[in-house]
Symmetry: C2
């Protein structure tokens, strides 16, 4: 957990400057300079889509700003939600007069600040709707599904809402498909090793050399259980079972699969995990469409992976596979 950084207090600013220097399709904006928006002008008549969250999860959240994805993103300090003024700036950046969808993970601080921001922009007659990502099945029981946290599966909602907004659909319609994507997505993570916040000298959790934790959250929130490190095949089978207990799948169903790395777990291992998930789904007669394997939502140098499944219908599949481009995901 050695870090190649400068002063910790400059971590987010310098990271954002590097991001936009590399990707000219992105621009930093807002008084706080903690908003990333598309460099292109807003499309007249298009609903805007805004997300936000803490730093330390790249490509989440700012890396998904792009055509057919989100339009602007408010970003906070590492593992801290964005400030209210950043949320306001992001909404203003995304607004073209057709309303703005606020699409972010279900975390208390983020919810509170986006709610306050939506009240503030309402005074300027900007209409907003809110959809919360809550895909992490380990974070609350099915009976309390609304308390679940959002993790990597949120990017499916970005893609699907983004594609709908490109069709110049109404805010109500864009929010509907975003909620539909959230409702059809489940995720679970497995953690092997912690990360360290730039301002800290200690890891964000402790775990023994031969242990893994099933269901740990992306900030190190406690999971379901710890065990000795299991094989890749056993691990992904247990992850899949935990998802299927919550999102039953039958032969003939079509799903997308996201096998996401948390940061330090090599791409080789992600493909070994994906291989088995794909086999297990095929054994059930479930077809995998447009799978994604890679580091799409991380926790800096945390080791581990998450599995997300999006159950498709014709509408979701068409939106998932519609053209779209942002720095870290490109379709068509």
């Amino acid at each position: 957990m050695k870090k190649l950084i400068n002063a910790p207090e400059n971590y987010v600013t310098e990271m954002l400057e590097g991001l936009v220097a590399c990707h000219p399709s992105l621009t930093i904006c807002g008084d706080s300079q903690r908003v990333v928006r598309r460099s292109a002008e807003n499309t007249p008549g298009k609903v805007g889509i805004v997300s936000g969250g803490g730093s330390g999860h790249l490509p989440l959240f700012t890396g998904y700003v792009g055509q057919g994805f989100i339009d602007a993103c408010a970003i906070g300090n590492v593992f801290e939600g964005p400030a209210i003024d950043s949320c306001v700036d992001a909404i203003n950046a995304a607004d073209s007069g057709q309303g703005v969808l606020l699409l972010f993970g279900n975390y208390g601080g983020d919810r509170m600040n986006f709610e306050m921001a939506s009240e503030l922009v309402a005074m300027d007659d900007i209409v907003t709707a809110t959809v919360l990502g809550n895909d992490d099945v380990a974070s609350a029981s099915p009976e309390e599904a609304s308390k679940r946290r959002g993790v990597a599966g949120l990017i499916y909602a970005y893609k699907i809402a983004g594609a709908k907004a490109e069709q110049l659909a109404t805010l109500e319609e864009v929010a509907r498909v975003a909620q539909k994507a959230v409702d059809a997505t489940r995720s679970i993570g497995i953690a092997l090793a912690p990360c360290r916040l730039p301002s800290s000298t200690e890891p964000n959790f402790q775990i023994h050399d031969n242990e893994m934790e099933m269901g740990m959250g992306i900030h190190g929130e406690p999971g379901l259980w710890r065990s000795e490190l299991k094989s890749a095949d056993e691990t992904v089978a247990e992850m899949l079972n935990l998802i299927l207990a919550d999102l039953p799948l039958a032969a003939g169903d079509r799903v997308s699969v996201l096998l996401n790395g948390l940061g330090a777990t090599p791409l080789e291992e992600l493909f070994i995990l994906f291989r088995r998930a794909n086999q297990l789904l095929a054994d059930r007669g479930v077809e995998v469409v447009a799978p994604i394997v890679g580091n799409m939502a991380t926790s800096m140098e945390m080791a581990g992976a998450s599995l997300s499944i999006l159950k498709l219908d014709d509408e979701l599949e068409a939106l998932l596979t519609a053209p779209g481009v942002c720095p870290f995901w490109r379709v068509g």
Copy 2:
């Protein structure tokens, strides 16, 4: 360095199976099943491009098989070169009768096996040419530049040779631009923490908690010096100086920059490093074109980064920015 794997002896096979299951544009072929080729039929009249190397460096090498990149790739065990028969199978897979460029990193075992393979396919009247990536400035002095190892900068040669081959250029011409790309590329790496081979219980090198090593190779080959961990800005300035000592740049020059992660170093830190490299080049009046920041050539969970610079002229820039698509790099 905990691993989410199954039996170590199945590591490469399962990784390849997962790779092609996720990316249908790729197919495993060859008697040894250690070759990845494009699923599409070969383009008639096009020179084939083959690469190869050891496993454990994804997306290198197999992830760069695609249209406008390499056509087939022979892959060995972790950190071991591909077998001769795999090299032969890869050449056969890529051949359309116009000859095949062998484009791989300058490592003794890889060189020997590809040389043997080229003699074997010559008996079937397949003409080959060989270009070796040797971008790592830390691995030998300028006087012995031909002894330098190939590292991340090899992907620039893939892109440039691949674009030239798409124009249905001759083998001589494709080899010429590949060599030109190699000659214009320099890289240097910094290592912070080791990886562990799947078959081993020990890290591949030892380094203290507050140390870094400048110039270490991607298999842990010794570098130039060790020091206490420095800031990102200091580190990248020293990396850039080592490159510029070997590849002088003047105001008005145009370059591409690849800020590559070795595996466990977060994307946030790569952007912080890139930010400073970009500033330092701008201070010299050098313009950065089509930069790349990400994990493009890794050593599993090794922590650290490498900086590669490709000095452009009009021909190289046109080929670098020509359309091309493979699973991990897409242009146009």
